[in-house]
């Protein structure tokens, strides 16, 4: 067997929305779709950080034999012969509800409003607690600070409905190196209004995550 032949053997053949596609080993369904210019919406995925799987906007329905399942495309590798549907009824149902609820959760975000409109969601029936809110807790900022910058200046505090972007004791964190990466990766611009909550006295920065 020639090495070249072996290579094509490793490729995973499956379909997305009926179209035959090939994935390299290690690719996710989302990455494969991008190669073929098939659009799947995402909010928490960012190529600079490990996929976190929080926003669930990238969900697709997969059918394997008789079984159907909805799963996030940013985290799951394809299997040979898998049938993937990016816009099935079940998928759209998840996206529409998530978007409608996001309209109530971060009503100030234009990005969310635009995305929602693409899915025909223009109004929300849910209670808006903070009209100024833009942060959807997608975790990109936390991940980039931790994985790429390596300082862990910010984190999520509390849990569930109270989960929020935090620094210890909600005071600016001197571990922050003021690099602004968090602002860059933020999908809604929420981080730019919050940077001063994180960035401490830059002159005292220590450059690693252990400053208190």
């Amino acid at each position: 067997m020639s090495p070249k032949k072996k290579k094509t053997d490793d490729l995973i053949n499956f379909t997305i929305d009926g179209q035959p596609v090939q994935a390299r080993p290690g690719w996710t369904i989302l990455e494969t779709a991008e190669q073929y210019h098939i659009h799947i919406p995402t909010l928490c995925f960012h190529p600079a950080v490990k996929p976190w799987g929080g926003c669930r906007l990238c969900v697709v329905e997969v059918r394997y034999g008789k079984r159907g399942k909805v799963m996030p495309s940013c985290l799951n590798p394809p299997l040979a012969k898998l049938e993937v549907f990016t816009h099935s009824e079940r998928v759209l149902n998840v996206r529409r509800w998530v978007l409608e609820m996001l309209l109530a959760d971060c009503p100030a975000s234009k990005e969310i409003r635009d995305l929602a409109r693409e899915y025909g969601v223009t109004a929300t029936r849910f209670t808006i607690t903070d009209p100024e809110e833009e942060c959807l807790r997608c975790g990109r900022c936390v991940a980039v600070c931790n994985e790429v910058v390596g300082v862990q200046a910010l984190t999520f505090g509390s849990r569930g409905v109270n989960k929020q972007l935090d620094t210890p004791y909600r005071v600016p964190n001197n571990a922050c190196v003021a690099c602004g990466c968090c602002v860059t990766v933020c999908p809604t611009g929420a981080m730019s209004t919050r940077l001063d909550l994180v960035r401490g006295d830059v002159s005292r920065r220590t450059g690693h995550g252990f400053a208190h």
Binding site: T155, G157, R159, T167, P168, Y169, N173, A175, G209, F210
Partner: protein, 151 residues
């Protein structure tokens, strides 16, 4: 409250300096001092070698940690399914009225902390209230009031 409290160093000594012991250490400090002070949180971080942000995330994520001093007595009203069906909700409301404190909070004089728990495993005796380490089974508003008066 106990007359003497352990030194923080003695508690730290119980665990090797590894990140995996963060939660156990927080629990021990919580048990000893009834809350985790900023100084202790920093000392724990240094001991196990994790950034303060991680300890903060952990301390605010898990319900059993408190970053503020708690009351002398802890009243935990069970709101597990069985206790809910048998009127646990009315018991918390009664406590909130009687102690003038919202659930999850401590009275101003630091006498009582009122909290709710999700099932203490004594469901056959629902509704159940835990007062410090004691269980009060088949509780009613009058029996609870009587018990609290004794404290």
């Amino acid at each position: 409250m106990k007359a003497t409290t352990l030194e923080i160093d003695d508690i730290l000594e119980r665990y090797p300096k590894q990140p995996q012991h963060l939660i156990s250490l927080l629990q021990d400090v919580q048990a000893e001092y009834k809350y985790i002070s900023p100084e202790h949180l920093a000392l724990i971080c240094d001991h196990v070698g994790v950034p303060l942000t991680q300890a903060w995330a952990v301390a605010t994520f898990y319900k059993s940690f408190s970053l503020e001093p708690r009351g002398e007595h802890e009243i935990k009203v069970c709101l597990g399914t069985t206790c809910h069906l048998k009127g646990g909700g009315r018991l918390v409301e009664a406590c909130e009225r009687d102690l003038a404190v919202a659930r999850g909070h401590t009275t101003e004089d630091l006498r009582f902390t009122l909290d709710t728990v999700k099932c203490v495993g004594a469901c056959a005796l629902a509704p159940v209230v835990m007062i410090d380490e004691d269980y009060l089974g088949a509780a009613s508003i009058p029996s609870l009031q009587k018990r609290l008066e004794k404290l």
